[in-house]
C-alpha cells in the first residue's frame, strides 16, 4: 500500500549515507535522515491511527525529552557508553515488538514466527550485551575482563539451549513458554559475551553490538511486514559489520579472538623471549582498569604531582624534561601528536590542542596521528579532538600519520601505549603481534606523556621508554600539559 512512501524514505537514508564523506556533508545527511524518519512516523500514524493515544503521547514526550537532555549534556568521553546504551535500547525495542508478534502468531513453522524468534534472540543478546558494555564504559561496572571457569563451555551450553528453545517454539508446542526460554538464554548469552571483553577491546564489542541491533530490527521488520524496518535494519547491520571488520583489522585479530579469546586471557601461546613473562601480563591488564579509574587524580599517581623532579627513568638531558620538551617543540618544523585513551581519561585534549595552537602560531606545523582503535569506539579520538577545537584537516589516519611521522622532527605521544609499541611489528607471539602501529620511533625525537612506564591494555612491554634520547613526562596528561603551557 505505501510502497512509494517506504521507497522515498529508504532513498533518503541512502543519500544520507552517501553524504557521510566529510563533516559538512554528514551534517546534511544526518538532518535529511532525521526529517525522512519523522515523515515516515507521521505517515504510519496517520494511516493506521493510534489506540491508547494518551499513553503513546506520554511515552513519546518523556522518552523524547530525556533523550534530548542526555544528548545535549553527555561529554565526548562518555559517547561510547551512550552509544552502547543506544545499541541496547534498539535491541530491546526489536525484541519486545517481536515478542508481541510471536504471541499473536502463536509459534509454528511459519516465516513470521521464525523471524520473531530471531528478533527475540538477537535483540536479547544485543540488549544485555550492550547493558554490560555500556555499564563498563560508564564506569558502573568493573572494566577488567571477567572470565568464568570454563567460560567457553558455558557459552556453548547457553547457545545450544537457545537453539533448542527456538526449535521447540517452531515445533508449535507452548510457543510462548519456549519464547521466554529463548529470551532468557539470549539474555544470559549477551552477558557472557560482554563481561569478558574489557577496555581496549571495546571498539570491537560496540561495533559488533551495533551490527546485531540492526539485524534484530531487520527481523522485527519481517514479522511486522515493514519494508522500511527491514531496510533500516539492513543498513545498520551493514554499517556495524564494516566497523567491526575495520576495528579487527586495526588490531590484526579475528572477531572470534576478541569475543572468545580476550586479550588478558588469550596469551597462552605467547612465548616471546624478549617480552616480559606471561604471568606479568594478566595483572597488568587488570591494573589498567584500576589505573583508568584513578587516572584523573594526579595525587594517586606516583610521580604525577612532582613537577620538576626528573623521573627515575629520566631523559639523558641533564635539564628539566619539560624545558627540554618545550625547546624541542619550538625548534621543530614538524610535530606529530599521537593521542590515546589516556589523554581522554585525563580530559587533557583541551590542553593538548591549546599547546599545539601555541606552536602553530610560532610557525611549527602540528598534526595529530590517530590509530583506528585509539579510544573506546571507532573514531572516538577524532571526536574528542574536534571537541577541543582541533581543525579536522589536521587529524590524520594511520597511513598518512606514519608518513608524517617519518618526516617529523618531534613526535609527542599522549596517553597511548599499545598503538605505538614497536613489539607489535618486531616480536612474534605477543598479543599485539601483527597489529599495525603508529611508528613514533621514526620521528627524529620522541616525547612520551604517559601516566607511567607500565604496559598498556595488552600487557606487552613498550621498549620506547628505555630508548636513548626519548623524553618521558610521566604523570596525568592534563597536569603535564598544564605545565608545558606555562611560559
Amino acid at each position: 500500500m505505501d510502497l512509494s512512501v517506504d521507497l522515498v524514505v529508504i532513498l533518503v537514508f541512502v543519500v544520507g549515507f552517501a553524504l557521510f564523506r566529510n563533516p559538512a556533508g554528514a551534517r546534511r545527511g544526518n538532518m535529511l535522515a532525521a526529517v525522512a524518519f519523522a515523515a515516515a512516523a507521521i505517515v504510519v500514524v496517520a494511516r493506521g491511527g493510534v489506540v491508547l493515544w494518551p499513553l503513546v503521547i506520554a511515552v513519546l514526550l518523556v522518552a523524547g525529552s530525556l533523550a534530548w537532555l542526555v544528548a545535549a549534556k553527555v561529554s565526548m568521553l562518555q559517547i561510547p557508553a551512550m552509544v552502547a546504551f543506544q545499541n541496547g535500547s534498539g535491541g530491546l525495542a526489536a525484541l519486545l515488538i517481536s515478542m508481541v508478534e510471536l504471541w499473536r502468531v502463536g509459534g509454528g513453522a511459519s516465516i513470521p514466527s521464525i523471524s520473531a524468534l530471531l528478533g527475540i534472540a538477537i535483540g536479547g543478546v544485543t540488549f544485555t550485551g550492550s547493558a554490560v558494555a555500556g555499564g563498563k564504559l560508564a564506569g558502573l561496572l568493573r572494566q577488567a575482563p571477567v572470565t568464568l571457569r570454563g567460560h567457553n563451555i558455558v557459552v556453548l551450553v547457553t547457545a545450544l539451549f537457545l537453539v533448542a528453545a527456538g526449535v521447540a517454539a517452531v515445533g508449535g508446542d507452548a510457543a510462548v513458554v519456549a519464547g521466554v526460554a529463548l529470551l532468557s538464554a539470549a539474555g544470559v548469552l549477551g552477558i557472557l559475551l560482554a563481561v569478558r571483553v574489557g577496555g581496549a577491546d571495546m571498539p570491537v564489542m560496540i561495533s559488533f553490538l551495533n551490527a546485531s541491533s540492526g539485524l534484530a530490527a531487520a527481523f522485527c521488520g519481517v514479522v511486522t511486514e515493514s519494508r522500511l524496518l527491514v531496510a533500516g535494519g539492513a543498513f545498520v547491520a551493514a554499517s556495524g559489520t564494516i566497523l567491526t571488520i575495520v576495528m579487527c583489522r586495526a588490531m590484526n585479530r579475528s572477531l572470534a579472538n576478541v569475543l572468545v579469546g580476550g586479550t588478558a586471557t588469550g596469551t597462552g601461546t605467547a612465548t616471546g623471549g624478549v617480552e616480559p613473562p606471561p604471568d606479568t601480563w594478566l595483572p597488568a591488564a587488570a591494573d589498567e582498569a584500576a589505573r583508568e579509574v584513578l587516572a584523573p587524580d594526579p595525587a594517586e599517581t606516583p610521580g604525577a604531582g612532582a613537577p620538576g623532579t626528573a623521573p627515575p627513568a629520566g631523559p639523558p638531558d641533564e635539564e628539566c624534561p619539560f624545558a627540554a620538551t618545550a625547546e624541542l617543540a619550538l625548534g621543530a618544523q614538524r610535530v606529530v601528536i599521537v593521542p590515546g585513551y589516556g589523554m581522554a581519561l585525563a580530559q587533557a585534549q583541551f590542553n593538548v590542542v591549546q599547546w599545539a595552537e601555541g606552536l602553530r602560531q610560532r610557525g611549527v606545523e602540528v598534526k595529530y596521528a590517530i590509530h583506528p582503535v585509539a579510544g573506546r569506539m571507532p573514531g572516538h579520538m577524532n571526536v574528542l579532538l574536534a571537541e577541543a577545537d582541533a581543525s579536522y584537516d589536521d587529524l590524520l589516519e594511520l597511513e598518512d600519520g606514519n608518513e608524517h611521522l617519518a618526516e617529523a622532527d618531534l613526535a609527542v605521544v599522549v596517553g597511548a601505549s599499545d598503538v605505538v609499541t614497536p613489539a607489535a611489528v618486531e616480536t612474534e607471539g605477543t598479543p599485539l603481534s601483527g597489529m599495525p602501529i603508529l611508528r613514533v620511533q621514526d620521528a627524529r625525537r620522541l616525547v612520551i606523556c604517559n601516566l607511567d612506564d607500565e604496559p598498556g591494555y595488552s600487557g606487552v612491554k613498550n621498549r620506547l621508554y628505555e630508548q636513548p634520547g626519548v623524553i618521558s613526562l610521566f604523570g596525568d596528561a592534563r597536569a603535564t600539559f598544564e605545565r608545558l603551557l606555562k611560559p
Binding site: V14, G16, A18, F20, P23, A26, R27, N30, A33, A34, F37, V44, V45, G48, V50, L52, V56, V62, A63, G64, A67, W68, A71, A72, M76, I79, M82, Q86, N87, S89, G90, A93, A94, L96, I97, V100, N210, G214, C220, V222, T224, R227, L229, A231, G233, A234, A238, T241, I242, L243, I370, M377, P378, G379, H380, N382, D389, S391, Y392, E397
Partner: protein, 92 residues
C-alpha cells in the same frame, strides 16, 4: 508470499548498497556514523506504532509502550547527538 519475497529483496539490496556506501565513510566520521545508524535502527518505532494501531491486551500494551520508549530514546538521542558531534568538527 510475494510480500515476503519483496522483504527479502529489500534486505539484500539495502545490505549491498549500504555496504558499498558506508565502507567509503572516512574513519574521521566513524563515531557520528555509528550514532546516526543507532537512530536509524530505531525505525522499530514504526513497528511500535503499528502495534498501537489495533486493540491491545494490557500485557501487549505494556510491552508495546516499553518498546516505544526504547525506540523514541534511540531515535531522538541518536539524531541529536550526531548533530551535536558534527557541529564540533571545524576547519581552520
Amino acid at each position: 508470499m510475494t510480500e515476503l519475497l519483496i522483504l527479502v529483496a529489500v534486505f539484500v539490496v539495502a545490505t549491498v548498497v549500504g555496504y558499498a556506501l558506508i565502507s567509503r565513510v572516512p574513519p574521521l566520521l566513524h563515531t557520528p556514523l555509528m550514532s546516526m545508524t543507532n537512530a536509524i535502527s530505531a525505525v522499530t518505532i514504526l513497528g511500535a506504532f503499528v502495534l498501537f494501531s489495533s486493540r491491545l491486551s494490557p500485557w501487549e500494551a505494556l510491552l508495546a509502550a516499553v518498546a516505544l520508549a526504547a525506540a523514541t530514546f534511540n531515535v531522538v538521542g541518536g539524531f541529536a547527538i550526531t548533530a551535536r558531534m558534527l557541529r564540533m568538527f571545524r576547519r581552520k
